[in-house]
Amino acid sequence: MSVLAILEQREGIWNRMSFEALAAAQKLGQALGLPVEAAVLSNDAGVLASQAAAYGVGKVFAIEDALLDPYTPEAYTAALEQLIRSHNPKLVVFPHSYQVRDYAPKLAARFAKALVSDVVDVKNANGAILFVRQLFQGKLNADVRVNGEPAFVSIQAGAFRAAERTDQTAQVEKFTPALDAAQIGSKPEAPFREAQRSVDLGAASVIVSVGRGIREKDNMPLVEELAKALGAELAASRPICDNGWLPMERQVGSSGQTVSPKMYLAVGISGAIQHLVGMKGSQTVVAINKDENAPIFETADYAVVGDLFEIVPALTEEIKKVKSGN
């Protein structure tokens, strides 16, 4: 019995979230009195596995096969199913990455289980573990119980402080799954980025970011003027870019840009986790939202609860005044 953390890499580079998932696994291991083991999958897992061995684990499985590169959900599912069936962990912990979203539900279904996805915390209620996950894009939390074993859980980005290197090195065990090329239907091509971006929001020092609260394209000049008064770059949440009101390259979040300005002013943005991961490195966050329970306020240093259609024009005026020295 163990807690098994699945670490993620792409082309030999760790996904940072892996070590946050490992930290969650360590917390669970402690609560349950179980050893923590880790696994990494690759066509050449040796180097990564020996790196992982220094992060406070009992053992690392280097799951190796040529068919594990490039990633496909079929190969990852088959390989992990075999490891789990032969080692019977009590809990399997993943980072809640896009890759994990792509295969972990399939893997869990092989065991007639559902993944407890996007977990932000774990609770120990008299030896029974409860997993805390978000509902309604972060507006509510739920405590979730898992029936039966193994339990499969994925950990939200930023929810746990990443596990740290220790001066002890665990044993690395090679695991060679039996994979069959005929069972891998999906044929992935190499990842790519779209044509060169014309703005680098990552370098902006002040950002005004607009969300669905702006309601209509015709209202966009409101925030454009605010941005202009502040000398800020304009950015947005996903729905604004989906609607074509701003180009995709101005989208902030897990599938857009990551920014870390001196100030991030969020206007009419609710604060879903996929947005927060792109801006939580900001030094100061200011949020204007009419819903006092909007999750964005949890990350905000300054909160204005109110109607953006009143506050934004007034703020633009005030900033102009301050700037001109009156």
């Binding site: 993944l115 407890v116 996007d118 509510l140 190499a190 980025r193």
Partner: protein, 256 residues
């Protein structure tokens, strides 16, 4: 091409989320409902594929009686027919149970393509489509931004993290979980709304599906998250707040 679209009805984004007395779910009396946003995009993609290639778009929705309204909306936008898996009021099913029930209805349709949203706005599992693929023995791709059918296969553009993308070719039948923004959404026309009234909706009670399986997970308690951060809340009328904030931006944050 025969396409199934899994459409979920969810509480509307601006609903007041009040908790039920037992703390296990929401007080439904306060809620209004809408189509889960990514599902609207999945439906749009299906309709455009049908317009290009011919075929049929069938909507499948698992939900209470109330979900009929969202099903009508999908028909009004142009879906050809619908299957309503009518459940009781328990709206916190785990993703495996949901997928098992949906799979029962989809199986007999033998579609070439099954489109789902990438995530539900209420439960947010982000799993139902992937599990469906496993249960139906199909290939799948998640977070899909472009769909291009090819002979017996489909080429999709997947979104990866940090602005990366990837093209993947999949054999049919396939399940695709569609990301918001894949196409521009259409509105239902008056004509569409009229036509929807005569389109077939097959209603099947989930209790009649002959399905029994233990829930994989159970929600013990729902509650508002605790706020961790020290936030300065500015209050007053718009002008006062704007003035205070401008001062803070100058003297505390120092960005003006």
């Amino acid at each position: 091409m025969k396409i199934i679209v899994a459409v979920k009805q969810v509480p509307a984004r601006d609903s007041a989320l009040r908790l039920r007395a037992d703390g296990k779910w929401l007080d439904a009396s306060d809620l209004s409902y809408e189509m889960n946003e990514p599902d609207a995009y999945a439906l749009e993609e299906a309709l455009q594929l049908r317009e290009k290639l011919g075929g049929e778009v069938v909507v499948v929705s698992l939900g209470s009686e109330q979900a009929a309204q969202t099903i009508r909306e999908a028909l009004a936008k142009g879906a050809d027919r619908a299957i309503h898996l009518e459940s009781g009021e328990d709206l916190t099913l785990d993703a495996l149970t949901t997928a098992r029930l949906l799979a029962k209805a989809i199986e007999k349709e033998s579609p070439e393509l099954i489109l789902t949203g990438l995530q539900s706005d209420d439960l947010g599992y982000g799993q139902t489509g992937v599990i469906l693929a496993e249960l139906l023995g199909c290939s799948h791709a998640t977070i899909v931004m472009e769909v291009e059918p090819e002979n017996g296969a489909v080429k999709v553009k997947r979104e990866l993290e940090d602005g990366w993308f990837q093209n993947v070719r999949l054999p049919l039948p396939a399940v695709l979980t569609i990301q918001s923004g894949i196409k521009k959404l259409r509105y239902a026309t008056l004509m569409g709304i009229k036509k929807a009234k005569s389109k077939p909706v097959e209603t099947i009670r989930t209790s009649e599906l002959g399905f029994s399986g233990d829930p994989a997970t159970a929600v013990e308690q729902v509650y508002a998250p605790q706020r961790a951060k020290q936030t300065q809340i500015l209050s007053g009328d718009a002008k006062q707040v704007a003035h205070q904030l401008a001062e803070k931006l100058k003297f505390e944050v120092r960005v003006i």
